[in-house]
Symmetry: C2
Subunit: 384 residues, 2 copies
């Protein structure tokens, strides 16, 4: 199949901001795309060749899209896997493959996979129902504090909660979950691995997620991470090992903890372009979206090195603002050196909704970090 011809049709499940940025690359290579998303106002709608409104968890909808394309990829992992499996059986290329998605879609399976495959990760227990956690606490099986995680459909911090006392469990979903030991970490890191259909593999540099000291929210993603080279090498090694074992095709974003004694523990993974790789659009030789396309089309992978240091700041909806979005002080931040805003095109803001991101590039990461803080303090995502 010649990908650079009008015969080839690429299907993409999900049309959010990741899909939107993926479409810059399909446009660059003139690859014909068919996108499905539940929302008729999905950010991907404009730049794809054909748009289909459909429920990504619906067997028939996913199967029908699959029958219209030559290769199917995802921008979100919550999709109907039975339909993907059927499509694979019928000979369709589905990247990442269903086998990898089955492991990743359920956090209990993901954790068990780490344990079975000697991937370092924080201790945890799996529970079929939340009520079983309460029993376990009563019996001394788990001690506070711990992290509760729903095994399915968590996204952007939803489905995760720090539990310090019994009452913290109130109001959480009652279904399958895990209780994970809290890690006393020095840094939260991430490594993106690209793996092509024929098995070529490359890792991006380690990035560092810098948290707000009080709000417990990622404020900045920095590339390169300001860590010891040995720790960085170890993080890339762990990510690469996981990539080989999980046999994904496309990108795998591996989020990790660097513990106080410099161990690396895998937190969780995403088999697609990822927020922690957005810096790559401006900073890397090959951005993560182009790399994902190269990997799934089995083209040679591009150089993952950085041209310059890059820092990403998420643009999230301000607290107390719900409604038609306004970006305040956009002109001001665009006057700062090396600043590029990305607006995802969601019309409505609400507190903490991801509305865009801003990249700051500079030869000197310390200088970029200063500018990033000015960006963070200036820009406001509010409602009219």
């Amino acid at each position: 199949m010649n990908y650079f011809s009008s015969e080839f049709k690429l299907g993409i499940l999900g049309g959010g901001q990741l899909g939107k940025m993926l479409l810059y690359e399909t446009r660059k290579f003139d690859i014909h795309t068919k996108v499905m998303d539940p929302s008729n106002e999905a950010p991907s709608r404009i730049a794809c060749n054909e748009f289909f409104q459909g429920d990504l968890m619906d067997y028939d909808a996913v199967y029908a899209l699959g029958k219209k394309v030559d290769l199917l990829t995802i921008e979100i992992e919550n999709v109907n896997l039975d339909a993907l499996e059927k499509l694979e059986e019928e000979g369709l290329k589905v990247y990442p493959p269903t086998s990898a998605l089955r492991i990743i879609q359920n956090k209990a399976k993901q954790k068990l996979f780490y344990v079975d495959n000697n991937i370092p990760t924080a201790d945890f227990q799996r529970f079929a129902y939340k009520s079983e956690i309460e029993d376990s606490i009563a019996n001394g099986g788990i001690t506070f504090p711990f992290i509760w995680k729903a095994t399915q459909f968590g996204y952007d911090g939803q489905g995760v909660k720090v539990v310090r006392k019994l009452e913290d469990l109130n109001g959480l979903p009652t279904g399958e979950c895990i209780a994970e030991k809290m890690v006393d970490f020095k840094n939260e890191l991430a490594v993106i691995v690209a793996r092509s259909a024929s098995g070529e593999v490359k890792t991006y540099p380690v990035v560092e997620m810098e948290f707000h000291p009080e709000a417990n929210q990622v404020e900045y993603v920095l590339c390169p991470a300001r860590i010891d080279e040995k720790v960085a090498a170890k993080a890339r090694e762990v990510a690469l090992d996981l990539s080989h074992k999980i046999k994904h095709v496309g990108l795998l974003a591996v989020e990790m903890f660097q513990t106080q004694d410099d161990k690396i523990l895998v937190n969780e993974v995403a088999p697609r372009p990822h927020n922690s790789g957005h810096y790559s659009i401006e900073a890397s030789y090959t951005n993560q979206f182009e790399q994902h396309i190269r990997a799934i089309l089995d083209l040679p992978l591009g150089n993952t090195d950085s041209k310059v240091a890059g820092i990403m700041v998420n643009l999230v909806g301000a607290e107390g603002h719900t409604g038609n979005v306004v970006y305040k002080n956009m002109e001001k931040i665009m006057g700062m050196d090396g600043v590029t805003p990305h607006i995802y095109g969601k019309k409505q803001t609400r507190p903490f909704r991801k509305m865009g991101h801003v990249t700051i590039v500079n030869n000197d990461i310390a200088e970029a970090r200063k500018i990033a803080e000015q960006v963070k303090n200036s820009i406001k995502v509010i409602s009219e």
Copy 2:
């Protein structure tokens, strides 16, 4: 007017490859676009918000688009200027302004403007009809060789011919033209100047057009140009001076000759993103398309420096091939370091048609130049 809101509508006249690349940036900033192009298969069609099929030289079509938008820009200078002038009179922001387009659209006016404004340029004569050139030759008014240029509607080398003997004039259009003295140049250079609506100005580094020794076709555009710093400074100065005098808004690509005695002569200009600036997508802090958007929206201009050296190779249709396009050896060039192909999405190839370009970036321009040559020797744009 808040540009980062759904109220604002940007009109773009022309939907070719320049428009297509401009739309990556309007998508990035979530700016609503209305594009008009004569072809229903224009490369811009997909990623704009609204597409209108229309003749860009037609008064009514251009005027009608203008009435639907808050600001109008162009990706091609051959548009109906009377309509633009009327729209400006009625209060629409048209960038570049009609006054600049009037000078640029007609090559005789452009040359006269240089003379009137002390912008160095090659000597020339203007003729209302081609037959007048023949009279002038007969009377010794012009001597061979010289360059014949149609004053209007030339594009991509059409409308330009080296005339070495009388017969070379055969078959050329009979209308208004200029005869320009041939310049014995060391290098052909270009400088892109960005000028915002409120007059902020920045120049990009000087690029060098490297010609094929026999075919007299630009083979490579290199940034930075491999020239003396003093010459580069002079080239930027001339471009800046012209920018101030012509009072464009948006980008102005200034093509220049470096003569054997290191004088700078302006060849011609384009008031928009330009082939000589395509390298900037991968190599510059702010690519030319984003910069054009910043300039026309009167946002602060971005950094025009390069992160790395960049070389661009045009992908033009191979001789002897007309029909459905195939890009041969695409996988091969994508395996070379720092190589990014851009496919414009034209379905039909024909000899010398611009079908795409390839950018090669590297810290070392000499290394990039070697890879560029491998790219040039590998990739073939042919028909099925």
